[in-house]
Amino acid sequence: MASVILRHREIPDINKLNIYKKNGGFVAFKNAVTKMQPSEVTDVVKNSGLRGRGGAGFPTGVKWSFIDNKNWPHYVVANADESEPGTFKDREIMESNPFQFLEGVALASYAVGANAAYVYLRGEFWQVAAFLDEKIAEMEAAGYLGENLFGTEYSLKIYTHLGAGAYICGEETAMLESIEGKRGQPRIRPPFPAVYGLYGKPTVVNNVETLTNLPLIIQNGADWYKSLGTPDSAGVKIFSLSGRVRKPGNYELPFGTTFRQLIYEHGGGILDGHPVKAIMPAGASSSFILVDDKVLNTPMDYASVRTLGADLGSASVIVIDDTVSIDWVINKTIHFFKHESCGKCTPCREGTYWMMHLIDRIHKNGHSKADVDLLLNVARQMQNKCLCPLGEFSTMAVVTGIERFSQDFKVVSRNS
């Protein structure tokens, strides 16, 4: 099947404007601006079943329809923060298929009536931002961005904005604070960005991969897109496969592909032929899935993965084999979240601190039952009490790791 997102794998020069154009580039945007009402664009996206690829899986067209049309101007923000451990798809899209992404930003902007869009990239993507700036300039020169596009009233500018090393800025309201020149700490929601966003104005925030789907959806129609996935999860998804597999990498596959197909057919199986022990399907924020044959045969779509007690999220599939102990894994995730907690609310700030303290003690002193119980208790106490989802994320691996892999937390004597 031809790629929808990672089209550079078949058309290597698609990052050049003339090659992108030759392959249907900007047809969708031009059609939308010259022949469609903004609400018609939103309707196509609604009907396509496209859901957000940034983690929450919220239906994209529905989100756009929440935009407050009584308050102007509107903004679009492309979320290119890509900081969830195990996620590396947006970087490949922007580096290799930049125009399709930028055309997606333009389509979203037209649909919600935004005349300015910001692409927020994590600070580490310094070179990617410079590259996008060049591509944006090329689009301006070619008349795809700027004033009175295609002879209409519609005008659009796209700007890049670099973060500076803070995972929390991937959370949409923290990102808006960061663009406003403040510390990247989440806002209390509601109000949601569609009502109160950038500079207090209605704003749509979408992930890079979500946006990159748009040109082909507008060009080929909602039914085409729906036909690619499962009833619950339309279209294709990029699975960022990492961990103990032979061939880690990004794989664009239809929703409904099984874990087995991803890991064994595409990922080449496990290093040294070991069995899969656990899967974290959504990066470090995931619950652990305890793997057996049934799990491997499970289709990867939002609903099916939920039946396994986990969320598909951004589909950053971290594979863990039987050479790895789960207590070592949660040591890594706890340190990550302790480091990234923004400190705004007490349960997360204190909770991640205590979890780190306890996991360090557990590793130093052996697994005393009291410490493992306390760790589980701290994590459970944090749940439902944090201001933003990061706090909750930090507990997922801890709780499901201890519950589902209790053998890895058995008491070891102090001097062993």
């Binding site: 900081s83 451990p85 590396f88 500076a164 995972y167 863990i320 790895v324 480091h339």
Partner: protein
Amino acid sequence: MSLAKKYSKEVKQILSKYPAEHKRSAVMPLLYLAQREEGYINKEAMQEIGKLLDITETEVASIVGFYTLYHDKKEGKYRMQVCTDLPCALRGADQFMESLCEHLGIKVGETTADGLITLESVTCLAGCDKAPMFQLQSPDGLEYHENMTVDKTMELIEALKKSGTEVK
């Protein structure tokens, strides 16, 4: 040295990205500009940025403190930031880091005696399929180095020593 003077074109271009009534948004790109000078942001630069954007120096300093890619003191010329987060660690990043420490004779967080390299351990850099990997932060920017070995890394460091200046 005044940023507005030395980089007048860049400052103007940065300010043009944001609505005039929200020029505070320019604080992050201006801090990157200030950091270009010496690899860290000094007090005068914070003062100047504050003046330029009508915010206090304390507010500017709190931004510098919040984000890990801004630095307020001088360290090694290059910051070698090795990812030791979970996906990379599943592919040997911890051993890679240990071995680098041995070769350089420093611990994580320390700087080599010649002031060339500060070795740091960082969280995921979105290159998990190409572990071991690190980014090299220099005053001029950031560069990814992926699918690395200790030998390749030591060669790179030798080259940096010789050139002494820019990353290629």
